[in-house]
């Protein structure tokens, strides 16, 4: 079987583009691309138009996808306009088209039995967690969510997303919303109170590492969507690697676009930025 055997490259139409807090919520008419999209998957979009000096695709986690509705298949994204490429995307008007490849990457594993799940998101990293919450809720899971950011305006928590969540807890570093502090400050109580059996997380690498420490301390399974700069999103450029243990325990530089973005937190060799972790397969002698 091919890698990314469900991926399609297509010119897709912007159906909607709305400002939500610090972010843009965008809906695209994507046809068949939606039918295989699962929570945790991402899409890669070319930015800047045909004469742009921006030559690399930008990866966006899928916020939600739907096969049904008046426009056929749709994929929704939450775009943070913090770079030139994402700013360009956030400025697209309804009916404009963009070149999209997707769905790409691994998805969050869904338990076969109803379990107590805790979803942890940082900033707009919360986006893929709402689609995941819907799936988990439909399976009869208890779904709690913790969303954190530096300030209130950077938390993405739309009303419709909250429907599938039992209890939502917010944390901000400046105390402008919810609990003052970080997501990891409130996680231990929630894990204990709700007898959490699995943690799902998405956000900056430093946050994922901290979440993983809490998960390991509490002996709870942890799936996280890792983040490393990508040039292609389809597995050919080898820039987005993260050191991870394979099934035999060997540390390899694995692509976050193919072997990830969703990985088991215990597989990741955390804190390895700017260095090759000791014992990595093929490390310089």
């Amino acid at each position: 079987m091919n890698i990314n055997s469900r991926a399609i490259q297509d010119s897709v139409e912007v159906l909607s583009n709305k400002k939500v807090g610090a972010y843009n919520h965008m809906v695209f008419a994507v046809g068949d691309m939606a039918s295989h999209a699962k929570p945790g998957n991402f899409v890669a979009i070319s930015v800047g138009g045909p004469s742009s000096s921006l030559i690399l695709r930008r990866a966006f986690a899928i916020y939600r996808s739907s096969n049904r509705g008046a426009y056929g298949g749709t994929i929704e994204l939450v775009v943070a306009a913090h770079g030139t490429g994402s700013k360009w995307l956030s400025e697209r008007s309804v009916h404009e088209r963009v070149d999209m490849v997707g769905p790409l990457g691994t998805a969050f594993g869904i338990p076969t039995e109803p379990v107590n799940a805790l979803l942890v998101g940082g900033g707009y990293g919360s986006a893929p967690l709402f689609g995941l919450a819907e799936v988990l809720k439909a399976r009869g899971c208890r779904v709690d969510m913790v969303l954190g950011a530096s300030v209130a305006g950077k938390i993405y928590a739309p009303l419709e997303g909250k429907r599938s969540v039992n209890v939502m807890t917010l944390t901000t570093e400046d105390g402008s919303a919810g609990v003052k502090g970080r997501v990891t400050d409130v996680m231990p109580q929630i894990i204990e109170r709700n007898q959490v059996e699995i943690i799902y997380s998405c956000g900056p690498m430093a946050m994922l590492e901290a979440v993983n420490q809490v998960a390991e301390g509490a002996n709870v399974l942890h799936q996280c969507a890792v983040e490393e700069s990508m040039a292609c999103g389809i597995g050919v450029c080898m820039t987005c690697v993260v050191p991870m243990r394979d099934s035999a325990g060997v540390i390899k530089m694995q692509r976050s676009c193919i072997e990830g973005p969703v990985v088991d937190g215990s597989q990741v060799v955390w804190g390895s930025e700017r260095k090759i972790a000791q014992g990595t397969w093929g490390a310089p002698q």
Partner: protein, 311 residues
């Protein structure tokens, strides 16, 4: 497909013919599997594999990438499984999926190149060997063989001795030299059948907020449209000096016009690399547009267009 039959799109490196002059560039096509989701690999003249080394290599730490105006810096550092696993898994998969395969090799010593060549000897189904003597992402810049005519010659001689005349040897050169023609002369004298021009250009980006180099590897190879004029210049200079030696041109080719430019400068084939990162089907787009571009300019074959910019 009939349009391709009417136009003679074939090209030749050494003893091998290729049905189309558009190839992938080394290190820009993964294992081939990743791109086969978007088009059939037999549409390509050949797949040039990532540069493979004797032993597994982890490559460099992250961050490995920085986007630059019309380009990107990478410092992958030749991550790969080593030649044995590569021969066991990657090559058979590519060939069973219709790809013509040019294997790119990279060593840290002349002896490593010789050893890689011995591993490849006798695999007659291969279409060529690209000898990458110019990767900028090695710990010691002194190891960039292609910056030194004597070292370049030694590597190609070692490969030639160990590979016999089975299939073409294409030497991949660096633009980071004072006189690329003198390096080209040396590797051709040593037995190279063709030249791959150009590898990435050594570059650097500083993160001004962190006040340190953006890449963990400090320096990286610049690729993309930003380096295309450098590639065209190198192809033009080398074709002028060695008109009988086929050149595989590369460096920022994104569309058919860019490929035409390289053909007119003297390339017999064109590799598409970084453009694939922005567009998974870039190689097919370049191939289609090159054919249209040649036809609309009155050519009936690729060969009659090679080097026409030389006056």
């Amino acid at each position: 497909m009939s349009e391709f039959q009417a136009f003679d799109f074939r090209t030749k490196f050494g003893s091998r013919y290729f049905p189309s002059p558009i190839f992938t560039a080394s290190g820009c096509a993964g294992s081939g599997k990743e791109l086969s989701q978007f088009f059939d690999l037999d549409e390509l003249g050949a797949v040039v594999t990532k540069s493979i080394s004797v032993k597994p290599r982890s490559g460099r730490p992250t961050p490995r990438m920085a986007e630059t105006p019309s380009g990107m810096l990478n410092s992958i550092g030749l991550q790969g499984p080593g030649i044995d696993q590569f021969l066991e898994i990657d090559i058979p998969w590519l060939q069973s999926n219709g790809a013509r395969v040019i294997v790119s090799i990279s060593g840290e010593t002349v002896e490593e190149y010789a050893s890689l060549a011995r591993k490849l000897r006798g695999i007659n189904s291969l279409h060529g060997i690209e000898v990458n003597i110019s990767c900028p992402n090695v710990e010691n810049r002194g190891l960039v063989f292609a910056c030194d005519p004597v070292a370049s010659r030694a590597v190609i001689e070692a490969v030639r001795r160990n590979i016999s005349g089975d299939y073409p040897i294409i030497a991949k050169l660096s633009p980071d030299v004072t006189d690329i023609v003198s390096i080209a002369n040396e590797v051709v004298a040593a037995g190279a059948d063709g030249l791959a021009l150009i590898n990435t250009v050594l570059g650097m980006v500083i993160d001004v907020d962190a006040k340190r180099p953006k890449l963990a590897g400090i320096t990286g190879g610049l690729s993309g449209p930003a380096i295309r004029p450098i590639a065209v210049r190198a192809i033009y200079q080398v074709h002028k000096a060695l008109p009988q030696i086929p050149i595989l041109g590369m460096g920022g080719v994104t569309n058919g016009r860019d490929a035409l430019e390289m053909i007119f400068a003297g390339a017999s084939g064109v590799s598409v690399g970084t453009a694939t990162f922005g567009n998974p089907s870039a190689v097919i787009k370049v191939k289609r547009e090159l054919l249209e571009g040649l036809r609309s300019r009155g050519f009936n074959s690729l060969s009659e267009a090679i080097g026409v910019a030389h006056v």
